[in-house]
Amino acid sequence: MAEVAYHNICKSYGSFEVMRDLSLSIHDGEFAVLLGASGCGKTTLLRMTAGLENITGGELTIDGKVMNEVHPRDRDIAMVFQNYALYPTMKVFDNIAFSLEVKRLSKEEIKRKVNEAAAVLNLTDYLDRYPRELSGGQRQRVAMGRAMVRDAKVFLFDEPLSNLDAKLRAHMRVEIRQLHERLKATTIYVTHDQIEAMTMADKIVLMKGGKIEQVGTPDDLYDRPATKFTADFIGSPSMNFVEGKIHSQDGKPTFVGPHINLPLDENLAAEPGQKVICGLRPSDLVAAENGEISGTVKLVEKTGADVNIHVDLSETAHLVATMARDNGVLAGGSIELTIPSKAVHLFDADTENRIETQS
């Protein structure tokens, strides 16, 4: 049982403020992903959770107990460090075994657990090596192994897959999720990779400059991004943004932009004349005759199964549409596109906040 809660957390290094009034709670057994660009304070938040960094202001509680002054040793937290923090003088086996040794487990049990973790992590052949004899990816897996053998209350992962190749990364994503299903321990997982966040999280906490931008399930963030920042961050290729205005046509709200004339959901809380940004996901766009969007095809980019079609609407407005290949679209030609009105995201041009549909 472990519920981790942050109440108005502030953090400064000297006069440099990294974080202000951050509040968040992560429920027992939840797999929460802290997502954000490099430098936004993810590592700092994890290190404060582990007790390796002082909390400048606010309160951190685990299961309701204030943790601010509790020694890291007594927090029962396992952590995978961004820089691995392996024990340089211990072989891989001992690196993984150390926490078990400290707990005075029997030799056989330690051996069993370490071997089990090593097998999952493809480290069996390296147990007899020192960290300096390993590659970056192997070191990262040792760091993972060190956490995996723990049965801590809270698991913290700081970009634990950043140094692995694509295939191993996909494999490890599954392993970490399975580990979580098995242990049911509260987990906070840091990454800057939105695909990792989308595939693994129960809950995504999107951060920006030391603040929380949006908290929600992967579907929440993908389907109903609260801000243009979130919409831009989640999804690959990124959402298209086109600036324009709301018009009223036949009593229905319509988005009007460069070569776009999109009828919108009637229940949108938008005023005619309001300046807005229209967000269109590349995968929602469909080629159609007499579509509401028209432009010229600048480039057809192959990605394997799909192609990304880059479309110029005007000098300044561009779109990317993702389609199955063999669709006959050629660079240089003109194209017309449509999109279901439900799939259109609207943001106020000034606040960049989402314009909601009222029901």
Partner: protein, 298 residues
């Protein structure tokens, strides 16, 4: 004249051959180390005869005398006692003090700086200081040890064979433990911090952290300190020379002191050279044995 010399120097510096670079060092080595070493070996097969006022070949007589000489064996035993006891005390004490001083709190930098003070005092002066402090009449150490009940009033520290060596050791500990502390501190302060953070989260106690993390990471530093200090301790001379002259009896008689006495007091140059050679061989063997055993693995 001036530019001729410049030209010569330039040719010397820009030449391709390594010989000119090594020559000065090799020359110094030959003059100050190699030649004396071989002269010493040669000397150990000769003896100075004052009546003839010259060195006479005596074959292996010096060597056979040496191994039959009970004073040599006593000196060897004193030297080894001094070496092992002080090495152990200074390593352990040095490490404890270094760990205590390894802090970023204000004031600790000053404390670390103060450590160098004992190192700038000539050992002979330190010997004099401790001679005074251990004086049976007015010595402050005598007074304190008596007050603590460790010492009975009758026996002067340096004139009692059971305590004299310990009395000399005190001077060495006082002067050279800070040297250990300085080396250990330099090592401790350059250790990476991440393993300590990981150890905390792994639940390790302070002692477990020291034993499994700090000590292994410090092993190279400790090995260097032990080597330097060990060689020093093995040729201990100054303190006993000043404080006890080797007495009472042979209780503080080290090999170096014995060699010095034979060479310069008794003018037995050959015999003194023989003792020195044995010292040298022992140091070489111990040092290399240590390097081999302590071969740091990680």
């Amino acid at each position: 004249m001036a530019f001729v010399r410049t030209k010569g120097l330039q040719g010397y510096i820009t030449g391709d051959s390594p010989v000119p670079w090594l020559a000065p060092l090799v020359a110094m080595l030959v003059v100050f180390t190699i030649y004396p070493l071989f002269y010493n070996i040669w000397l150990s097969f000769h003896e100075y005869v004052p009546l003839k006022r010259r060195l006479v070949y005596v074959g292996t007589e010096n060597w056979s005398n040496l191994f039959a000489d009970p004073r040599f064996w006593e000196a060897l035993s004193v030297t080894f006692t001094y070496f092992f006891v002080l090495l152990a005390i200074q390593v352990v004490l040095g490490m404890i003090i270094a760990l205590l001083l390894d802090s970023d709190e204000p004031g600790f930098g000053l404390l670390r700086g103060l450590l160098t003070l004992t190192l700038v005092i000539p050992p002979a002066i330190t010997g004099m200081m401790f001679l005074l402090m251990e004086d049976p009449e007015f010595g402050v150490l005598t007074y304190i040890l008596e007050a603590m009940g460790i010492l009975s009033g009758q026996d002067p520290i340096l004139a009692t064979s059971s305590t004299a060596l310990a009395g000399v050791m005190l001077a060495d500990i006082w002067q050279w433990t800070p040297f250990m502390v300085l080396i250990f501190l330099a090592g401790l302060r350059s250790l990476p911090q991440e393993p300590y953070e990981a150890a905390m989260l792994d639940g390790a106690s302070a002692f477990q952290t020291f034993r499994r993390i700090t000590l292994p990471m410090m092993s190279k530093v400790i090995a260097v300190a032990v080597l330097i200090r060990g060689i020093d301790l093995f040729r201990a001379f100054d303190y006993m020379f000043v404080m006890t002259s080797g007495g009472p009896g042979t209780s503080t008689y080290t090999l170096s002191l014995y060699a010095w006495q034979q060479t310069f007091s008794f003018i037995k140059w050959g015999y003194g050279a023989t003792i020195s050679l044995v010292s040298l061989v022992l140091i070489l063997v111990i040092a290399n044995l240590f390097i081999w055993i302590a071969k740091v693995r990680w």
